[in-house]
Point group: C2
Chain length 279, copies 2
Amino acid sequence: MTGAREPMLREITVLDEYGQRRALFIPAERPLTVFVDKRELVTLMTLGAEPELLVLGYLVNQRLITSVSEVESITVDWDVGAAAVRTRAGIADIEARTAHRVVTTGCGQGTVFGDLMSEVDGLRLPDAATARIRQSTLQAMLETMRQQDSIHRKAGSVHGCALFCGSQMLFFVEDVGRHNAIDTIAGWMALRGVQGADKTFYTTGRLTSEMVMKAAHMGVPIVVSRNGVTQMGHDLATRLGMTLFGRAANKHFLCYTGFERFDSEPIPQAATVRVVAGA
Amino acid sequence: MTGAREPMLREITVLDEYGQRRALFIPAERPLTVFVDKRELVTLMTLGAEPELLVLGYLVNQRLITSVSEVESITVDWDVGAAAVRTRAGIADIEARTAHRVVTTGCGQGTVFGDLMSEVDGLRLPDAATARIRQSTLQAMLETMRQQDSIHRKAGSVHGCALFCGSQMLFFVEDVGRHNAIDTIAGWMALRGVQGADKTFYTTGRLTSEMVMKAAHMGVPIVVSRNGVTQMGHDLATRLGMTLFGRAANKHFLCYTGFERFDSEPIPQAATVRVVAGA
């Protein structure tokens, strides 16, 4: 794999509401066209933080490859905005397996609903006896995220994803699309052979059906979002037995699904009043 | 057109960080498979606020139709999650014109970069002499949005879009994907033959390249977002001569591009200290 890097911030001049000039940073965004064995597959719009891991994770999450060993090399060249993937044995019926995406659309909806539901029953997540999370562990995770230096803090308009083992952050990445960010995490896991069963996945993005499916395919039973959940994200997580936490920031969060994995702790007396008031 | 309606909120039970049960509303999200003259075209994941306008606007924004007169009827049936579009004369080479979408992905990136750039030069927006906006008009818009009753306020996790003429809101819609919301606005405009030249488009979503392109195709020269801008959104708007405002909430906003359309007003004395301090 190459280690292609490009600047991730651009400084622009803006006017505030009084017409005063200000300097502002915005996140970079560049097209990366993926070629698999010289055949054009897809164009990803990316911040460009980890292009090789993004491409690898994209192939994994699209189920175009099942193991990193199928890939011989991934070469990213920003001068032409291209990622050249060379596989060892080619990808069987790549035409057919990518064609179905023609009938999808929307923000982060990359799979047809029918396919989605039929996939669910084939997935098994570790049970609540082995994969659990404590309130204090989650709060430590959120504190780590709060302190994390990020493009978002400097420029906004990006989504961040992180993989945790307990309260330990293993990998953090940001991208302009939250799906690119989770695909990059999948690429990182695939490259290192990291399993998801004892991990927790954090995202700043909404918990849509596809975010839930991608986490499930990564084998991660617990997913935490700073944002909310959509109905299909909620339905899928319930069906998968996945535990979803949302509105997670500072010391607060809500558990949407999979309550059985969550070890809550009693309300500290000092907090009682606030919590009752906020209930 | 049918006027299919389904509930847009679902109540779920969640646990807070102390393990206490709470009732919470989340936005509905349902698949709507679009059939054009009985051929399956796309599956949209939608809140379902205005499914017929969404489908119409989707066809317009995908440039599959150029006028509403090409459509004989749009029939939405939520029982089967299907929207049946009957055209008067069919859509020429619909296969070829939808096939290119196979090489796209990411959150809100539905067009290949190359296509995007080649499209830009064919688009003309009204010049700054005819299409301008005053600070006070923008602040009135933002106050209208602040007071707008919304699914977002009740349940979060949706994007809102609105079309304004001056400070007058003409149409407001929310959806789980911000692209569905802007497509619904395009459908509303197409159905009524509303032109974009003297309008302002508001979105809660980020100003990505595709949001900018869709606004440009709607002929709207001024776009306002509560959120930020990505680099390609900035590049495209600059090339189009479109005026972008971001971080727009309460009385504050930033003008990212097309400064020449913006009539700012001097800093009120009372605000001077705050502004200088915040600069």
